[in-house]
């Protein structure tokens, strides 16, 4: 197998998806998705479990044949040799060989991508260093900690120096410390110019890592833009008031409904245009016999945007 990929026009976008539809029986997993990815951009696909993010990623790597629509990677169709060479994929599962060492795993995937023996050693060294696994090169992958396995999983996706990296929920089941390490890895390659698609259902991750975010629900992209843009489009300049109160449930329910609020996780949330509206809320609470325990004012986040657009929580 040749190690040389077909030439790719540099002027072509790293990724362009047009009208992609994928059905599994009666279920439409991806429903007319169109997307582009700019060079060096990190695009977040934010949506709850089952929204169709993974199917979209698998269609990009050519592992799912769409019912209609197109996927091109630097102008090459998904699944072609040129597309495979340009794409790196970090699946949600730990797709590594548990009985091989870290270095052996990386060497295996490097060879699958056609890297020459000459390229192998420096590229493995770079990946191990990138994943902070230099001292684990000879450790059997199956004996690594969960966070280390995740990092090795990511390193295997970068072994052939792809120009586009697709990461499907790479922090699933990872402790906060390892998660931070993973963020640093992603930021490092993003800063080096790798284009990234990052799927997650954690809005904090999307906010921290992604230049642009596409919110996915039921196989469709329901909103797309930078974080601030998404919030502005949904909420304008409005803010959110989160109040923790005590009192009769009926009174609290009535008070919430009067001000278009909603109960959430033991608190009540309201959207206000001006901070001066807070005093009105509090006065009405006092007159209804409701006691205030805690009060916070914040800008809406992606969770709020998702809730606003779908009427459901992101983690539902």
């Amino acid at each position: 197998m040749s190690a040389t990929a077909a030439p790719i026009a540099v002027t072509t976008l790293p990724l362009a998806i047009g009208g992609l539809v994928k059905r599994f029986g009666s279920l439409t997993a991806v429903d007319g998705v169109s997307l582009t990815l700019a060079p060096g951009e990190c695009l977040g696909l934010l949506g709850p479990n089952g929204a169709g993010k993974s199917t979209l990623i698998r269609a990009i790597v050519g592992r799912v044949i769409p019912n209609s629509g197109t996927v091109s990677i630097f102008g090459a169709p998904a699944g072609s040799a040129a597309a495979s060479a340009a794409l790196g994929w970090v699946p949600q599962e730990l797709a590594i060989y548990p009985r091989l060492t870290c270095a052996e795993n990386l060497a295996a995937f490097a060879r699958y991508h056609g890297l020459s023996s000459r390229e192998l050693k420096p590229q493995i060294a770079w990946c191990l260093q990138w994943a902070a696994l230099e001292d684990r090169a000879k450790t059997i992958a199956g004996t690594l900690s969960g966070g280390m396995k995740r990092r090795l999983n990511m390193a295997a996706g970068m072994i052939h120096k792809p120009r586009v990296l697709l990461m499907d929920e790479p922090t699933v089941g990872v402790d906060p410390q390892s998660r931070n390490r993973i963020f640093e890895m992603i930021e490092a390659i993003r800063d080096q110019g790798t284009s990234i698609i990052y799927t997650t259902h954690y809005m904090e991750e999307a906010e921290r890592l992604c230049d642009r975010i596409a919110i996915v629900d039921h196989g469709r992209i329901i909103a797309e833009g930078a974080h601030a843009e998404l919030v502005r489009n949904s909420f304008g300049s409005r803010s959110q008031v989160i109040a923790r109160v005590t009192g009769s449930p009926a009174a609290i329910e009535s008070w919430t409904a009067r001000h278009n609020g909603r109960a959430n996780d033991g608190a009540v949330e309201f959207t206000i245009d001006q901070p001066t509206e807070i005093s009105l809320l509090l006065a009405d609470a006092a007159s209804s016999g409701i006691e205030l325990a805690d009060l916070a004012l914040r800008r809406p986040n992606l969770e709020s945007v998702f809730l606003y657009l779908t009427g459901r929580e992101l983690r539902d």
């Binding site: 197998m1 790597v61 592992r63 060479a85 730990l94 797709a95 590594i96 548990p98």
Partner: protein, 434 residues
């Protein structure tokens, strides 16, 4: 504890193929072993034996006739007719020996010239011409069966000869009979002579429907046994079992190794590999290649052990071993890859491979020699990889045949391996794309 049982039952119920196989497996085995051993009384395997009559005397023709009609034997005086040879010539001593050596039959009887003049031996000083028995020691049962049948047929087919010989010995050791006794004896002998000549001419006599009471058997017909295959081997059955057991475990190993496909599909590694430049054909070919290497290494180790411990002549048969080893490894590796591509879980693979391998091994000769089985099972055994591989290795190590003689085994193993791999590739399409 109930909760644990419930959970285990629910898990098993989800994997319907495993569930079915876990019940089918024991029933299938019971059926097969019952067929092999339970029906032995009705379907005793008949021993194939070539009979060469160089004597052409009345006695020898009677004996040949009796052997041809013997229900426990498949006796032949000439090969089966073929379209290009409708009346094949009778076997000679040389062609009979070649047939035994090639494994076509286990035993050949050569009735030498002059045997009919003095066919029965009673005393230790007897110097009668002996019937030659050429045998293949890889089948230790056949010569014993043929020897027994020969004695029985000689007794029943040659009553006059037996009586006459007995009379001669009686005169030698006890003296002459009285004239009256001699008259009665000659009258009885005339009757027996009539029966014997009728039998030599192929006529049925009234006595043929009766039993052989009055003629006890027990080695009256002298036989000279001679092994014509495996003379260089000191442990005839060892090379047979090295191949037989080797092939069975090769099949298990190949199925287990090919099961890595299912592990990789489960873990997502297969998807990741297929998203690289590696296509499904390359992936399966890689698995096949690995399985072949593993199988060949296993066979090599088996025969090295047989050489070191049981003195099987491995070094004198290297070319044949390598050729048969590669062909066998290819066929079993393809078999493993096919099973892995058919099954959806490791549980299914374990059950299905155990079922198929044990069935193939039991009727294919890996557990006990096929010559012990009925004709029907021996024929069924030809549909197994085991029998072709064992036959090939037997030709190499036992019959000392050249590589060119292995062509049927090579052709079958390679063709079956190719077909199984093509099927596996076709079925593996389910992993290619969703």
């Amino acid at each position: 504890m109930l909760a644990i049982i419930r959970t285990a039952i629910a898990s098993l119920r989800r994997d319907k193929a495993s569930l079915a196989l876990s019940f089918v497996l024991p029933i299938a085995f019971f059926g097969i072993f019952a067929m092999i051993f339970g029906n032995q009384r009705d379907t005793v395997p008949r021993v194939n034996v070539i009979v060469v009559d160089q004597d052409q005397s009345t006695a020898s023709r009677s004996l040949v006739r009796a052997l041809l009609g013997e229900s426990a034997l498949h006796a032949y005086t000439h090969p089966d007719a073929k379209p290009n040879q409708p009346t094949p010539p009778d076997y000679t001593a040389a062609t009979a020996q070649a047939a035994v050596k090639a494994g076509d039959v286990s035993v050949a009887l050569i009735i030498p010239q002059g045997w009919g003049a003095n066919p029965v031996a009673f005393g230790p000083d007897h110097e009668a011409v002996k019937i030659g028995m050429l045998n293949d020691p890889s089948d230790p049962i056949a010569p014993q069966v043929v020897t027994g049948m020969l004695q029985k047929d000689a007794m029943t087919a040659l009553p006059a000869t037996m009586a006459n010989e007995g009379f001669k010995y009686e005169k030698q050791y006890f003296g002459d009979l009285t004239p009256q006794q001699q008259k009665r004896w000659h009258s009885y002998l005339d009757q027996l002579n009539q029966i014997e000549s009728d039998r030599a001419a192929g006529k049925t006599t009234a006595d043929d429907t009766g039993n052989s009471d009055g003629f006890s058997s027990g080695g009256f017909v002298p036989v000279q046994k001679q092994a014509v295959a495996g003379q260089t081997q000191n442990k005839p059955i060892i090379s047979y079992y090295a191949a037989a057991i080797g092939v069975m475990f090769l099949l298990f190993t190949a199925s287990g190794a090919a099961g890595s496909l299912l592990d990789e599909a489960d873990s997502g590694t297969l998807d990741r590999v297929l998203s690289s430049r590696v296509g499904m054909t390359t992936l399966l070919a890689g698995k096949l290649g690995f399985n072949m290497l593993l199988a060949f290494a296993q066979l090599t180790l088996m025969f090295l052990f047989a050489w070191a411990v049981f003195h099987v002549d491995l070094w004198g048969h290297i070319p044949g071993f390598v050729v048969m080893g590669i062909c066998t490894a290819f066929a079993v590796a393809s078999f493993g890859v096919l099973l892995a591509s058919i099954c959806k879980t490791r549980g299914q693979l374990g059950a299905l491979s155990t079922l198929l391998i044990l069935v193939m091994s039991s009727i294919g000769g890996s557990m006990f020699p096929r010559y012990l089985m009925s004709d029907a099972l021996q024929k069924a055994g030809q549909f197994t990889l085991n029998s072709w591989a064992i036959d090939g290795f037997t030709k190499v190590f036992w019959r000392d045949q050249p590589i060119t003689a292995l062509w049927p085994q090579i052709a079958v193993l390679v063709a079956v391996g190719a077909v199984l791999f093509a099927l596996a590739r076709r079925i593996a399409r389910r992993w290619e794309f969703a």
